[in-house]
């Protein structure tokens, strides 16, 4: 097959690779980044999972790692609600199917074994560890110390699970030893406080890992064996391993003959962020570089917070590591590698690091993706983009994420789509939000850019600076078969109608879009995500900011994985926060608020910004009802929520219309 145009531009990424006796078509490894929670509670793989893995197999990666299975019948290693199991041959038929999918796609098939140790025993009243060291987060089971018999049994269970994976048709096996999982907790001087030959010195702490590697290599000498190890645990304050110790452990693993080390960052309990939107891409690359230097004869795979194939290609070219290990970016866009190969990188839906995937998994829900509404629904034909039986002329009101997701999806199905937008470009309220985002505005702006590119490629017609109202609709009467209202939401200023001094209120969305300017002393009413982003941005720019929230807490509408970020910013920036506090009146130079007991406080304010409550722009539904054959709505126009719901609803309507 002749090389595709993008392959020449990314020559290192698309260079053939090798692991053990297996040839890989390129240097991209699909990482088992987190479990899907699509399976049964007792560890069987479901049709939903099989449909998903078929998509994974088709991603075009040279090596594909199937998500981690727990290896023991008791479930001590089980860390996720619907994690797959591999402790018995009864599980094999579905694993065989997955291995076949991967081979049919031309990739090397690797099965991960995940014994969660300290984070395991999800269905039990305990978890197992080298020593009884309680966890530092309130998510887990009380620990039990493993005896030497337990250690021997556990190694045996790993070997049996590895044999089963090979029996199912996988080419190799990966054991994950990062995040604080079992192997990591033996390696760590924080969690391993044993006084026998498995504890104490780093040599002793690494013994469990070395015995495990030896046992699997002896059982399966012809098959590649990969171990995932921390380059940094980020557990320094707990007395965890230093980076030097992490690399000593890597050298131990390499010395035992592992075929590949997958370098990762951080424990679940680490107080520091490692892969979120606030971490710049490439931030952790130094760990992979050092791993390659310390273990030059072992393949190094790496991809933590390295979502960009161009960056990865450059790293590979410089010899910083051997395989780009990637997962989350391919949850967002399973076509990422193909688009790179076909020189269509501008079409990629980027992972924006919202960590919706993990937020859900840690709440025992199936993972989903903000950017990929079809993720997890691959088994449902209703979510597939299929040619429309009747091609329709569609008018979309609003070029925010909901409207644009609908428009591009409908256009892919053959509909003739026109979007009208009051503003002068695509993005809606997301633009203002992104402009003021303290994390990485580029992530959010990538969503806008994606829609700009796709609208152009799909021939979606865009009319900017156009207000949707009954007069406009009358002017286009009978020209459209369908109208979709995706006009978003606004701050409900009517909620302040009874407030003295309300004429001084400024709409948060006007501040976000730059239509209104804030003074030096600002009070923001509403500790929701709109209010927070504005408050943080203004405070960072030097304003004195107070945040007033009538509820118990701020950030209640923020995704759990990012809630901490906002609460930390609020504290770091010194934003005065008053919860359980209501607005009483606004004076010419201040805001008077009252706490739950009615005690009043006066806060000096040059500008008073209303960030909540939010209200859907639903009026158009009533006005347009008799003007068009089909009238639909999606996104915040139905109920104010956020980008995730907007994109998902836009897509669901787009595949159905």
């Amino acid at each position: 097959m002749s090389a595709r145009p993008g392959e020449a531009k990314l020559p290192h990424l698309f260079k053939p690779g090798r692991i053990g006796r297996y040839a890989a078509p390129n240097l991209v490894k699909y990482g088992a980044c987190c479990v899907s929670n699509y399976n049964t509670r007792d560890g069987f793989i479901t049709p939903r999972e099989l449909a998903r893995t078929r998509v994974i197999a088709g991603t075009g990666c040279g090596i594909i790692t199937n998500q981690g299975a727990y290896p023991d019948p008791k479930g001590e290693g089980k860390s996720y609600f619907r994690q797959v199991a591999l402790y018995d041959d009864k599980f094999l038929p579905q694993f065989e199917t997955i291995a076949r999918y991967i081979h049919d796609a031309g990739a090397v098939a690797i099965q991960q074994i995940l014994h969660a140790g300290r984070y395991g025993g999800i269905d039990l009243g305990y978890c197992v560890q080298p020593s009884v060291v309680p966890q530092t987060l309130p998510h887990f089971r009380p620990p039990r110390e493993m005896s030497k018999d337990d250690i021997r049994r556990c190694i045996g269970e790993h070997v049996d699970a590895a044999r089963r994976a090979i029996k199912a048709g996988f080419d190799g096996v990966e054991v994950t030893s990062f995040m604080g999982y079992l192997l990591a907790s033996f390696n760590s001087k924080f969690t391993n406080q044993r006084s026998d030959e498995y504890g104490g010195t780093i040599e002793n702490r690494g013994r469990f890992m070395r015995e495990l590697i030896d046992a699997i290599k002896q059982a399966l000498p012809e098959h590649p064996f990969i171990v995932r190890l921390n380059g940094a645990e980020l557990m320094d304050q707990w007395g965890g391993n230093t980076e030097d110790e992490c690399f000593e452990l890597m050298r131990q693993a390499a010395g035992c003959g592992v075929d590949m080390i997958s370098v990762t960052v951080g424990w679940q309990e680490a107080p520091e962020s490692s892969i979120g939107r606030d971490v710049p891409p490439g931030y952790w690359n130094r760990l992979a570089i050092r791993a390659k230097q310390e273990c030059p004869n072992t393949l190094i795979a790496y991809g933590n917070r390295l979502p960009d194939p161009v960056m990865a290609n450059d790293c590979l070219g410089r010899g910083e590591f051997d395989y780009w290990e990637v997962c989350r970016p391919m949850l967002a866009d399973p076509e990422l590698v193909h688009k790179a190969a076909e020189d269509r990188l501008d079409e990629v839906r980027r992972c924006i690091g919202s960590l919706n995937c993990l937020s859900r998994v840690f709440r025992d829900l199936p993972y989903s993706c903000t950017m990929n509404p079809a993720l997890g629904h691959e088994v449902e034909p209703e979510y597939a983009i299929t040619p429309a039986a009747v091609k329709k002329k569609v008018l979309v009101i609003g070029a925010g994420p909901a409207g644009m997701e609908f428009a591009t999806t409908a256009a892919k199905r053959g509909h003739d789509v026109t979007v009208i937008e009051r503003g002068s470009r695509i993005g809606g309220n997301l633009l203002g939000y992104a402009t003021h985002d303290l994390a990485r505005p580029d992530d959010l702006l990538s969503v806008v850019r994606h829609y700009e590119v796709m609208a152009k490629k799909l021939g979606v017609k865009l009319q900017f600076n156009t207000e949707a109202n009954p007069k406009f609709m009358r002017s286009v009467l009978h020209q459209y078969d369908v109208c979709v209202v995706a006009a978003g939401a606004r701050v409900d200023l009517g909620a302040y109608a009874h407030v003295e001094g309300r004429e001084r209120l400024v709409d948060a969305l006007d501040v976000a879009s730059g239509k209104a300017k804030a003074g030096a002393r600002v009070v923001v009413l509403g500790g929701n995500k709109v209010g927070l982003v504005i408050a943080e941005s203004l405070r960072k720019a030097g304003a004195e900011v107070a945040l007033v929230e009538s509820g118990k807490r701020i950030a209640e509408d923020v995704m759990p994985t990012f809630k901490w970020r906002h609460t930390s910013w609020v504290e770091e920036l010194g934003i005065r926060t008053l919860t359980l506090t209501r607005l009483v009146r606004i004076t010419p130079d201040a805001v008077v608020v009252a706490d739950a007991k009615g005690a009043e406080t006066t806060i000096p304010a040059d500008t008073v910004i209303a960030a909540g409550p939010r209200r859907s722009n639903q009026e158009l539904f009533a006005e347009f009802e008799w003007m068009v054959d089909e009238l639909h709505g999606c996104g915040d126009a139905l109920m104010p929520r956020g980008m995730d719901a907007a994109i998902h609803e836009g897509y669901r309507l787009g595949v159905r219309i």
Partner: protein, 135 residues
């Protein structure tokens, strides 16, 4: 001078659901992680103990993890509790100390037990559920 008893009283709403007998142990020492031992020589600790109608601050002895009956163990570095108390918002300062590693926390019960014992609101206020590297 403000005491921890005052602070707990000021934030009584965070402890409203805490069950009688439930407690948090605070065992200062430097470095904090040195206290992470099954058995150790006794050192003074502070207990935030739920009584019949309010949280009470009680003195106690920390003898290591094995004999600890509290639901949660806070390990502040020497002086960290005093620093927090001197701050205008002591609980906010405690939260900062947790993030900075000046105070460590060890969870002695399962999540469901902690929820049943009424700690959710306090943990939420400290931001504990949202720590973790997968962010």
């Amino acid at each position: 001078m403000t005491t921890w008893q005052d602070v707990l009283a000021q934030h009584a709403h965070l402890f409203a659901e805490v069950q009688p007998g439930a407690s948090i142990a605070l065992a200062p020492g430097s470095p904090p992680r040195a206290q992470v031992k099954q058995v150790r020589d006794p050192v003074p600790m502070q207990l935030w103990l739920r009584g019949p109608d309010r949280m009470a601050v009680v003195d106690g002895e920390y003898r290591g993890l094995k004999s600890l009956v509290s639901d949660v163990l806070f390990l502040p570095e020497a002086g960290a509790l005093e620093t927090a108390l001197a701050h205008e918002a002591p609980l906010s300062e405690l939260k900062r100390e947790l993030r900075d590693g000046r105070m460590l926390v060890m969870v002695m019960r399962s999540r469901s037990e902690l929820r049943e014992r009424g700690w959710s609101e306090f943990f939420e206020a400290l931001g504990l559920p949202f720590q973790g590297t997968c962010r």
